[in-house]
Symmetry: C2
Subunit: 423 residues, 2 copies
């Protein structure tokens, strides 16, 4: 690594963030008619007209604008954008009768899916806490805490620990199987860690700290593979590993066989998810003021698996997923895994000082800047072949939006700046 390299990489990301990525969104996402955000754009950045506003896309947008404002971008414009999103979220998506946020409305604000999905509630906590940290508007923290309290009452499994994830509108559990109430996932618990970290950063309340520590304990002790330190996607309520199935309510475009089961349903892990987990854990420890060494072994296992098996040294970028012991199952390149390993490999370098992580960062950085960023439009291609040819071409939909891309730029720039400051 040279200082010049650091400067170049930093400048490439800053240029993309400030001249392409944020402008893409500020130019087109505000719904002037109904409030909230328009979140469906095709490969040219044109509104596809899809008539839905998902909890995920609205909350992730709020997070994006609030966090970018807090990081110093946008000259105040992004705080207003975040407030615009919070106004919609609280007035249209909050269930005044049973509490919690609905899963889906149409553009006009009519509720389409009234279910309470923990994955979505976790992003509500995350974005509303970030929003109060960024703007001082107390509405964010107030609603974030209400959601936290609802999760403690309704979602926690007081028999086995952890959180159930799929509820009807009235917070009664949905059914088993693809309805999802008999399973617990890495995904929801990791995002609860992420959400509780920012909630605690915002409120400094002891109960938010304690439940953050408890979910970290669960992740490390129950959810990450005991030998490989890699994420196991799905469990039964009692924490026995469950075959990975597709749920009725989804928040991504994971590829399953036609019967809704993964090819390797019980031996499948995501390199990008593992790196994301590890850097989110490092961030949680920072906020908690707990030494990184407390979980050093876990952190290194998660990062090492991604670098040992997930990096495509031939064509660049990170693969989608593979087995816990290493075999790669899916060599395509999806946007969010690239975004997360950029942050993750920089943190792995910060943790270990191992130059291999810098080389892996540089590899993924080049793939992202040279191939995944659709520079002329402003956002990233969602899915590419191993070689870097777009497969899916939309710039945004409910499960893409800007949370991974913008956060990756902000957090990577911050880490590159720290490396530069140490020179």
């Amino acid at each position: 690594m040279t200082t010049e390299q650091l400067h170049t990489y930093r400048q490439e990301l800053y240029q993309h963030l400030t001249k392409e990525l944020l402008p893409f969104w500020t130019a087109r996402t505000v719904d002037q008619t109904y409030g909230g955000f328009i979140t469906h754009f095709d490969q040219h950045g044109n509104d596809t007209g899809e008539d839905e506003k998902s909890l995920i896309a609205q909350t992730r947008s709020i997070y994006t604008y609030a966090s970018a404002h807090r990081a110093g971008y946008g000259n105040g414009q992004l705080a207003n954008l975040a407030r615009h999103g919070v106004d919609y979220l609280l007035s249209r998506m909050w269930d005044t009768e049973h509490g919690g946020f609905y899963w889906m409305t149409n553009r006009a604000g009519k509720v389409l899916i009234d279910e309470k999905i923990v994955y979505g509630q976790s992003f509500a906590i995350y974005c509303l806490s970030e929003y109060t940290l960024a703007t001082g508007d107390p509405r964010g923290a107030a609603y974030a805490q209400q959601v936290f309290d609802l999760l403690q009452k309704y979602a926690v499994d007081s028999a086995h620990g952890g959180y159930f994830e799929m509820f009807h509108r009235d917070w009664t559990l949905k059914g088993p199987g693809s309805a999802g109430s008999d399973r617990k996932t890495l995904d929801a618990h990791m995002h609860l860690m992420e959400a509780f970290t920012t909630l605690y950063e915002c409120t400094q309340q002891p109960i938010h700290r304690r439940k953050l520590l408890e979910v970290i304990d669960l992740l490390v002790r129950r959810i990450m593979h005991p030998e490989y330190g890699t994420g196991v996607p799905q469990f039964w309520a009692d924490w026995q590993v469950a075959p990975q199935i597709k749920f009725d309510i989804i928040w991504g475009w994971d590829r399953f066989t036609e019967d809704g089961v993964k090819r390797a349903a019980e031996d499948n892990t995501s390199y990008g998810h593992n790196a994301e987990f590890a850097w989110l854990l490092m961030h949680a420890l920072d906020i908690l003021e707990i030494p990184q060494d407390t979980y050093r072994e876990q952190l290194i296992k998660s990062f090492a698996h991604a670098i040992d098996y997930g990096v495509d040294w031939e064509f660049g970028g990170i693969f989608v997923e593979g087995s816990h012991s290493g075999a790669v199952y899916d060599r395509e390149k999806e946007f969010w895994q690239q975004a997360e390993v950029l942050i993750g490999f920089l943190d792995a370098y910060r943790l270990t000082g191992d130059e291999r992580y810098w080389d892996a960062y540089a590899n993924v950085h080049r793939f992202v800047v040279d191939k995944m960023m659709n520079h002329t439009v402003g956002e990233w291609w969602p899915l590419m072949t191993r070689q870097g040819v777009p497969i899916w071409t939309h710039m945004s939909h409910s499960w893409k939006i800007n949370y991974h891309t913008v956060r990756s730029m902000i957090q990577s720039i911050r880490r590159l700046d720290l490396l530069l400051a140490e020179r």
Copy 2:
């Protein structure tokens, strides 16, 4: 068993309850000056003047009067008594800032111990739910639900399941060791089952049903001995068995060695507690409308241990405690274990039809009626020698009061009536 025997036993209990036990309390427990109940009486039934009102004694008193009213006793007087207690509980013991009930006030209502002890909160839920069921006053259910919500938020261990038990006023955990925050107990979890049963009976809310099922699952799967089905008193947070120690905050007069450790700290179980657990579980299943056979093996193990090792066939009554495999450690006779096995052995007979349980009931019944009831005063001796000579002589203090004795009479009469009806 003969019909005449049933009639005689029923009449002995009814006579004691209506002519001795309830009159003992209605004559002297109302605190006309400060509200609530006076709960400390010597062997002659005279107020000892002890200047404390404990959460346990106030809530258990409310339960006693409300449940006796609901069972048809007292001609309305007991409902008024319960209301008198609820007025004090809500106005003097409720923490309007942090929620939950304080552990101790003096007679005048000044808070002496502001800590939040789950054992005490469970009795608040129990008595307030029973109070609303008995009187229709909605304040009971409203506060019971508030306490339930606080327990879900603050007491549940979302990492390992179960409930932490010892909190400061602001619901932050107390310290480890004798402060108690690093342990989980059979006692608190069993009383949460008892409390959630009546809460669910009162509210019919799905979340109260679900958390009742979860605590039953914990008790059967984690807390009762896997081989003997007997209660294990204390665990670490992760459900490893912990040596039984004396806590700083107590709710009974368990006898420990001077260092606060039980003689057989890791192999100790209470016959009376096991029988109480089993009949409370049967009652919970009745309220849940789940067949008793669902937990038949567990129920029979708990009852069988009490009858096989706990009954004193020579002098009558039930021993205090012994090892899980059977050896008796303490052959004295304490009041509450007698009270609970009366109900328990009648339920064991109802479950199994085994005449041994009837004989055991008859044995304990005779010991209680002939020796433990202080007929001239109205309450029971708290502790007697194996032969039935009083060791402790007070009729009531914070940890005795009337919950075990009155409930035992009401519930045993109900069961004897059912046996008579089947004749």
